[in-house]
């Protein structure tokens, strides 16, 4: 059995807004301001959720319930797929020592299911920045095979000091802004997001036409600068969708402003698209890098923008980098996008590309 796979609803809460449409409007308006978080004696820009609730768990509950309510009516037995790189580590931090960690490392997924009033099967995915597409890949595989009919895929990345401190310790964070593909880029800007898509074999406005995952073992913290493994995964996604590169109308880049990863992705794009480069877009200057939630958050935001007939500009790009040799869109556009390719390049070598197509 091979069934088409549709995105029938999406939900989003992130620094740019409290729904996919609101985020799409903010992107169109060029909004990209970030707050900041203090770590030790250093401040880092940070894209926090627009929630004032100080209690970590109550804040998480509000965020998850809010996003769940955007998914429309769904059966309680709908399978749940949760993607996160940090789960509830922020809760452990807030409660303090002695740290009371439950036995199951993804026990937070049970809590998420309860908040979403889901009683069906649950599974969790933690592959760093590619977690969201790993979860979508599993859900689409099972739906396509006729083993399940619908799935709710949730990406959750909520504030915690451990992740921020870990990235800071490795000097991977920018102290100013996320500048994708820009000569001045100097690192990531992290952020929070809760995002969800409801996937179904039933018709919806967008299809997941192809998805592929891969591994780049060049280094645990950065991809092969040649971009070969990233190009390979993009090609696999195109092949899975039986779509030639020339049919892609837009690429949603990983492009998080990392000196090495941006260069690798640019080199990969040249290998796949050669002289016929589609428009390139990075959402991370506006949303931040929301790690395990980023795949689903950026998918929801992009689809909302495209549904409104809008391709936002990439914020914070201004100084071309000769080595990169590519520039993202800096002028917003209302060009029609029928197919878009979305890239994720993950910490730890995970790679994923997903191709969405209008139904």
């Amino acid at each position: 059995m091979q069934r088409p796979l549709h995105i029938v609803a999406s939900g989003l809460l992130c620094a740019r807004g409290d729904s996919p449409a609101a985020v799409g409007d903010a992107l169109w308006a060029g909004e990209c301001t970030a707050g900041e978080r203090l770590l030790g004696e250093r401040y880092f820009p940070y894209f926090a959720l627009p929630l004032a609730e100080p209690d970590w768990l109550l804040r998480a509950e509000r965020a998850v319930r809010h996003v769940g309510a955007q998914l429309g009516p769904y059966a309680p037995e709908t399978p749940l797929f949760v993607a996160s790189s940090s789960f509830q580590v922020g809760l452990f931090e807030q409660r303090g020592a002695p740290f009371d960690m439950p036995v199951g490392s993804a026990s937070f997924s049970r809590q998420i299911a309860d908040w979403l009033t889901l009683t069906g099967p649950r599974s969790s995915f933690s592959t760093a920045c590619t977690s969201g597409f790993s979860a979508i890949d599993a859900a689409t595989t099972l739906i396509s095979a006729g083993l399940i009919d619908e799935a709710i895929v949730v990406g959750v990345e909520l504030a915690n000091a451990s992740t921020l401190a870990g990235f800071a310790a490795m000097e991977l964070l920018s102290r100013s802004a996320c500048r994708p593909f820009d000569a001045r880029r100097d690192g990531l800007v992290l952020g929070e997001a809760v995002a969800a898509v409801r996937l179904s074999a039933a018709p919806g406005p967008w299809q997941i036409a192809g998805i592929a995952s891969g591994l780049d073992a060049y280094s645990t913290t950065g991809p092969d600068p040649d971009g070969g493994p990233i190009a390979g995964v993009m090609r696999e996604a195109l092949q899975a969708a039986d779509t030639p590169p020339a049919a892609i109308d837009l690429v949603k880049l990983q492009a998080a402003g990392s000196p090495g990863s941006d260069l690798a992705e640019a080199n990969a794009l040249r290998q796949v698209f050669a002289e016929v480069m589609p428009p390139l877009l990075s959402l991370k200057p506006a949303l931040g890098h929301t790690l395990g939630a980023s795949g689903i958050a950026e998918l929801a935001a992009l689809i909302a923008s495209l549904d409104a007939g809008q391709i936002p500009a990439t914020a914070n790009y201004g100084e071309p980098d000769a080595d990169i040799g590519l520039a993202p869109l800096t002028v917003r556009s209302q060009a029609v996008v029928r197919r878009a390719l979305l890239n994720l390049v993950g910490f730890g070598g995970g790679l994923a590309s997903l191709l969405v197509e209008r139904s």
């Binding site: 770590l39 030790g40 399978p79 790189s85 789960f87 580590v89 452990f92 931090e93 020592a97 740290f99 960690m101 036995v103 199951g104 490392s105 993804a106 026990s107 937070f108 997924s109 049970r110 069906g120 099967p121 649950r122 599974s123 969790s124 995915f125 933690s126 592959t127 760093a128 590619t130 790993s134 599993a138 595989t141 099972l142 095979a145 006729g146 083993l147 399940i148 000091a161 451990s162 401190a165 870990g166 990235f167 800071a168 310790a169 490795m170 995952s213 891969g214 591994l215 780049d216 073992a217 060049y218 280094s219 645990t220 913290t221 993950g346 910490f347 730890g348 070598g349 995970g350 790679l351």
Partner: protein
């Protein structure tokens, strides 16, 4: 057709893991987290040298996750008041395992870590459903499905190696069960041990893995 090419169970005292890695690859795996060491040791036990070059997907679930490393990180961040040692942070990121073990499994194409949300929970039925589908689609030649756990007093790896072709030591074949599937073995962390027991001593021609919350994910095993 999907073949069951290996069933492997490994148990270690935590301090014995480095030696197990050294036995598997002939040298230590420096700065690798316990789960990474478990993954490498188990994968090497499942695959011959030649098989390690074939396109492979790794799907591994874990109840413990990087629990001890996370506690260490929380101590550093919350009690130390500063930034953690980079390798302590990296040890909390199970996704890194794939990058560290690929040099010894050159065929490794992708790896997915599925943390579990409760004690005695397991998701073998979903891992096997994904594996069967991806093998049918030709995404890879073999899929390693595993459950890896690392606790203060014990480390364990449970493995099923599946392939599109039968290895010389192939044990059986598997497929999604026709519905309604007969009652079968519950989806628990020790499912591979029950499967091994059936292979060694069972009389029935088929063995079923039952998925309580997703009956359509039931899997049927048969001897060759």
């Amino acid at each position: 057709m999907v073949f069951l090419n290996a069933v492997v169970s490994q148990d270690f005292a935590p301090d014995a893991l480095p030696n197990a890695v050294r036995s598997a690859i002939g040298k230590p795996l420096r700065r690798a987290a316990a789960l990474t060491q478990l993954a490498l040791t188990g994968a090497c036990a499942c695959l011959t040298e030649e098989q390690r070059r074939q396109p492979t997907i790794l799907l591994w679930q874990s109840t413990s996750g990087p629990r001890l490393e996370t506690l260490n990180l929380l101590d550093e961040v919350c009690l130390g008041g500063g930034e953690p040692m980079p390798y302590d942070f990296l040890a909390t990121q199970p996704a890194l395992a794939a990058a560290q073990i690929q040099p010894f499994l050159p065929g490794l194409r992708s790896a997915t870590h599925l943390p579990l949300d409760g004690e005695n929970s397991a998701n073998w039925s979903m891992l096997l459903a994904l594996a069967c589908r991806w093998l049918d689609q030709g995404r890879c030649a073999q899929v390693l499905c595993a459950q890896l756990d690392h606790w203060p007093d014990a480390a364990s790896g449970r493995w099923l190696a599946l392939g599109t072709g039968p290895a010389a030591t192939a044990l059986g074949r598997l497929q999604p069960a026709s519905l309604p599937a007969p009652a079968g073995q519950a989806d628990t962390p020790d499912f591979p041990a029950h499967l091994r027991e059936w292979l060694d001593t069972g009389r029935a021609s088929s063995f079923y893995l039952h998925a309580a919350t997703s009956p359509r994910l039931a899997v049927e095993f048969a001897r060759l």
